[in-house]
């Protein structure tokens, strides 16, 4: 019997119908049912259609309305699997900040299935990159760790420090790009390719919209996103 990665207890698989149905495609679980149920799953029926946040009604949340006001024409229509609550924060603390790479296995298969089941054909998958220093000390990209057999297109990378442009000389569009951490890494310009961005957490959406803008400027088609948590 395997021990639960989270609580250390032996994993007993209770043969309830719900469990069988939810696990039918999955390999041996690495955490126990108890620990898995401590995460709050988001029902896709009642979410903000812009960012995938769990809410009572299906309508745009304040954050998404702000993105529209700031000139965003198409929202990311982000879809997230879990609520970014205390339990998920603790998970991220262990996986990402303590750097316990094994903990990727807790969600890897589920998250991959979630992405595949909810995205149409003919999309390029782009994972949000981490900067070089983080990669060196952490040893991994936490988004890629959560994915299994998803072919990724390396279209984004972190910018190295660049010359600072004065705020007043920028156009409205340029001002929106303040703090843009990414630059384009593709070999050639895009030609209307549709793209799905993948990240671990959607908090304000800032990072994902930065990524979206870079790809739009290169000629991408529609751009959506998936995150593990919102």
């Amino acid at each position: 019997m395997n021990k639960c990665l989270m609580c250390g207890r032996e994993i007993k698989i209770k043969l309830t119908l719900k469990w069988l149905l939810s696990m039918q495609h999955l390999k041996d679980p690495v955490i126990c049912q108890n620990c898995m149920e401590s995460f709050s799953k988001i029902e896709l029926r009642s979410i903000c259609p812009g960012c995938g946040r769990r809410q009572k009604e299906r309508r745009l949340c304040q954050d998404c309305q702000r993105w529209l006001k700031m000139g965003e024409e198409n929202l990311l229509k982000n879809r997230a699997m879990f609520v970014y609550d205390v339990v998920m924060k603790e998970y991220m603390q262990r996986y990402k900040f303590s750097g316990d790479y094994q903990w990727r296995l807790i969600f890897q298969e589920q998250f991959t299935n979630f992405i595949k089941q909810n995205s149409q054909q003919n999309y390029l998958y782009v994972a949000i990159p981490v900067d070089q220093q983080t990669f060196n000390t952490r040893g991994f990209n936490q988004v890629e760790g959560l994915l299994q057999n998803i072919e990724l297109s390396e279209l984004l990378e972190f910018q190295t420090k660049q010359g600072h442009v004065k705020q007043s000389t920028k156009t409205r569009k340029a001002r929106m790009e303040t703090g843009q951490p990414f630059k384009y890494k593709g070999a050639r310009k895009l030609d209307g390719e549709n793209i799905i961005l993948l990240d671990d957490i959607y908090t304000t959406g800032r990072t994902l919209y930065h990524a979206k803008h870079i790809l739009e400027a290169q000629g991408a088609g529609s751009i959506y996103s998936f995150t593990l948590a919102r």
């Binding site: 250390g8 303590s98 750097g99 316990d100 094994q102 990669f135």
Partner: protein
Amino acid sequence: MDKTELYGRLLLDTELTMELRRSLIDRAQPAVVQQGNYIECQRCLSKTRKEQAMLPNGTYYCPQCILLGRVSSTNQLYHLNEPNLFSKLTQTPLSWQGQLSPFQQNCSKKLIKALDRPGKYLMWAVTGAGKTEMLFPMLTKALLQKKRICLASPRVDVCNELYPRIVAAFRKITPVLLHGHSKQSYQYSQLTICTTHQLLRFQHAFDLLIIDEVDAFPFVNSQMLKKAAKRAMKISGTLVYLTATPTKNMLVRIKQNKLPVSYLPIRFHRKLLPVPQVWLLNHWQNKLARKKFPVKLTNCLRKWSKDALPFLVFVPNIELLKPVLQVLRSVLPKNVLGDSVYSADPQRITKVQAMRDHQLNYLVTTTILERGVTFPSLNVMILGADERTFSVSALVQIAGRVGRSQKRPYGDVIFICQDYVKNVKDAVQQIKDLNKKGDKLLNE
């Protein structure tokens, strides 16, 4: 940070200041060693298969001891020999004024003898025997001999309870308290009080290592922590185990005369242990599903409440906390207040304190409160004492919460079962056996 902080320790480069690291650079050891298909972490001595330890950037990390900060193949470890640089005491450091009972004294004398002899020693004393006080003479002697001492426990609550008592008993010494949530920073001290996890940061440091509640989780089934304890001691050091409920393995080694033991079957107030009442109730779980409780249980809990006595209700798993608490709230008078608590409960410490302060009359709890907590005049009930979660030692420890005060050295211990299973029989038998020995001792 100066080099005294490395005496007898084993620290990662990331735990040292740049200055100290530079001055000791020639002493750096690799933190991870590769051995065939495995890596061996040099901090916790665990082996991990390479495929489970490899990171995408080509380095390896140790998943076993990550709670103390990650060790990877990019790290180095630093260590300096323990020089026992403690100021010589000219008189006893013991400021405790209390008196040991003749039984306690007897045990205590044997412990002092163990100090002169390297190896392992077990002090088996029933719950509520006053084992901390029994350690004082041994600690005094070790301190006078300039020995370096560590009091460790798998349970953080136990460390937190020990620390103020040790500080009060040895005012001339400044002990250091180390655990994951402790705000104290490390300093070189003759006396360390810490969780067993913290032992991973020591190497050949202690002349005397005492492990309290040695049969508790996570120490009891962790090879990593056992190795850490061994390495934290000097080769010629003395290791003392304390417990009220030795493991099977220990009992076997006692029988084979491989583990010297001193034994105290009587509580400090010289009253016997409360013997559990086993109630066979078939349908308590079905009733609970219908938000009800068997009348016999309700009557018992109402009586405890009427007598204004605090009580604990133990349940076998977290899922039962809520329904049991709901039923209790509905069947008990409104002025009888209770709550539930479990190990990962963010409010655990506050709730236990509220119980101590009599703001709560009862707690519904998992095995997390089986040891390390003392509430005077307590009664306890275990729902589903026949469930596997409750080991023999858990049952004995839980029963041992009752009757600890001089004022009320008795109380009710009630085991609710559907079946009279072996664990329950064994636990009751163990308590009766202890009482027989205690009785004999009292009548000698």
